[in-house]
């Protein structure tokens, strides 16, 4: 576990200026302005430590894993499995066997829905999700309910953009077999009370599936303390490479599940008449895996650990509170979701009747990168009866000065649309 370069020597609190030096992409000019990257909720940038770890892997270590006895294959296998161990420790998983490599959060959630769902759901059963879910935590459940005959239910949200806990109480009956929810909304920014939600699910005998796509990169995560049954997250949102996601699961649940995909490495024996499955985690990892990407994610985890998840959460709280204040001053701008004290590092808003795409396009001309659209969460936009929002999001490398530039550019947009 190496600390990010910049902090090794000092061993003091990092500064954003120091952190930014590790992100070559941030030095860029866009349309003649310094890039202000306020889109980390969609995908984060990568520090040189992560890029170099993969670079080094391909230049010195690559071979296929698991089945080879030669030097490179053993080296690649060691790197690949050490990465798994490192990721397990990062979320305090009891064992690396419970860390399944996938492509992204979406595949992790599909794996649970298909494999656990097909084996455990039937007519009369209910699946509970929430109105603030990302499509990745909606569509797999719609599909599996269609296949199994189970019924899908949604926890509504309050006017403050939080889960309606009273409605939850009445929805969470003994019929619910699985409660799947996001730890943090990628539109509202709402941080959900994961521990409490897991406990409520368990109280009616349901399993709790946590979409950690937005929480794992930004908040400390302890799967055991929170007693999650499954946790899904993506490498690319937490400084790691694309093409890599994680599914954590409780051992006895994973053991009992049928495999998802079939192929190399996930079987113990293949006879023409049928096959026997391999042990965890390989049962769920068919074919040549994303080896370099595992190495890259492990380097990202080292980097996050080097900075400290508490520092990260603090930094984001500070900058989000500042952005909240500054954006609230813009007349005609409406912020969605709860106040700054209950939210993660993102703010989605609507600027009068200017369409979010137009807002984003105008900000882009000033070098400010924000997302616009439904952010793959149409139901929550339907709830607010708006087609789309503009979203600014913050990570370890963002500054208050970037927030100031965002606000300035919003005034320009207002002027342009006579608002």
């Amino acid at each position: 576990m190496t600390l990010p370069q910049s902090f090794k020597a000092s061993a003091i609190m990092p500064t954003v200026a120091e952190i930014r030096k590790d992100f070559p992409i941030l030095e860029q000019q866009v349309h003649g302005h310094p890039l202000a990257y306020l889109d980390s909720t969609a995908s984060s940038q990568k520090p040189i430590q992560v890029i170099e770890a993969m670079n080094r892997y391909y230049r010195t270590t690559h071979a296929n894993v698991h089945r080879g006895v030669h030097y490179l294959s053993e080296a690649a296998t060691t790197a690949y499995e050490n990465a798994r161990l490192n990721i397990a420790r990062f979320i305090n998983a009891p064992s690396p066997k419970q860390i399944i490599y996938t492509r992204n959060t979406t595949e992790s959630l599909n794996l649970v829905a298909y494999s656990w769902g097909r084996a455990n759901l039937g007519p009369g059963d209910e699946v509970l999700i929430t109105e603030m879910e990302h499509h990745s935590n909606i569509v797999p459940w719609q599909l599996i309910c269609e296949i199994t005959g189970a019924t899908l239910r949604y926890v509504p949200i309050t006017s403050r953009g939080e889960l309606d806990m009273e409605a939850l109480d009445s929805l969470l009956t003994e019929k619910i077999r699985v409660f799947a929810f996001t730890a943090m909304s990628n539109v509202l920014g709402t941080i959900n009370p994961v521990e409490e939600l897991v406990a409520r699910a368990h109280a009616v005998g349901a399993i709790a599936v946590v979409d950690g796509a937005q929480s794992v990169p930004h908040l400390p995560t302890d799967v055991q303390a929170m007693d999650m049954d499954f946790l899904a997250f993506s490498s690319h949102k937490m400084l790691g490479p694309t093409g890599m996601g994680i599914l954590y699961g409780k051992r006895e649940l994973l053991e009992a599940m049928p495999p998802f995909m079939g192929g190399g490495d996930m079987i113990r024996e293949v006879k023409m008449e049928g096959s026997r499955w391999n042990e965890l985690p390989y049962k769920f990892e068919a074919g040549t895996p994303a080896i370099a990407e595992a190495v890259g994610l492990s380097a990202a985890v080292d980097y996050l650990r080097g900075i400290g998840m508490d520092w990260i959460a603090d930094h984001e709280r500070r900058i989000t509170a500042y952005a909240w204040e500054r954006l609230s001053e813009v007349e005609g701008l409406r912020i969605l979701g709860p106040g700054p004290e209950r939210r993660g590092g993102l703010i989605s808003f609507v600027l009068g009747d200017v369409h979010p795409h137009d807002v984003a396009a105008i900000l882009d001309m000033d070098g400010i990168a924000v997302r616009a659209g439904h952010h793959c969460a149409q139901p929550i936009h339907d709830h607010y009866c708006i087609p789309a929002t503009t979203r600014a999001s913050f990570y370890i490398y963002n500054t208050e000065e970037e927030v100031d530039r965002l606000v300035m550019a919003l005034y320009k947009a207002k002027a342009m649309f006579d608002l």
Binding site: D358, I362, M365, D366, G373, P387, K412, M416
Partner: protein, 126 residues
Amino acid sequence: MDDLYRENIIDHYRHPRNKGHLEDPDIHYHDVNPFCGDEITIELKLDGDRIAKAVFDGKGCAISQAAASMLTEELEGMTLEEVKHLDKQFILDMLGIPIGPVRLKCALLSLKVLKAGVYGLDEWPE
């Protein structure tokens, strides 16, 4: 910036032409840009194989809505055969601004809806 939001685009967006619905349209089609949620409905009233009246309705960004508004203005009097030959370049010339690859889909949405309504081709115009 001025390039991206020229006055006539803002004008068509703020004051759309031919926005609304027809009593009894001969052709009616609706679609959504899956990448951004923009929506366009186009309705046509025909006189033989010639477009007598074209209206649109929709929600979305200035680019998609202004393009739809401008397109309806061009359509009146056109034959359905002529509609078949409308292409990406036609829309770009009409808008008169440079458009990046992602927003291109916004610009082309109304033409896509039009072509799907007229002869059932569910494809982004090339």
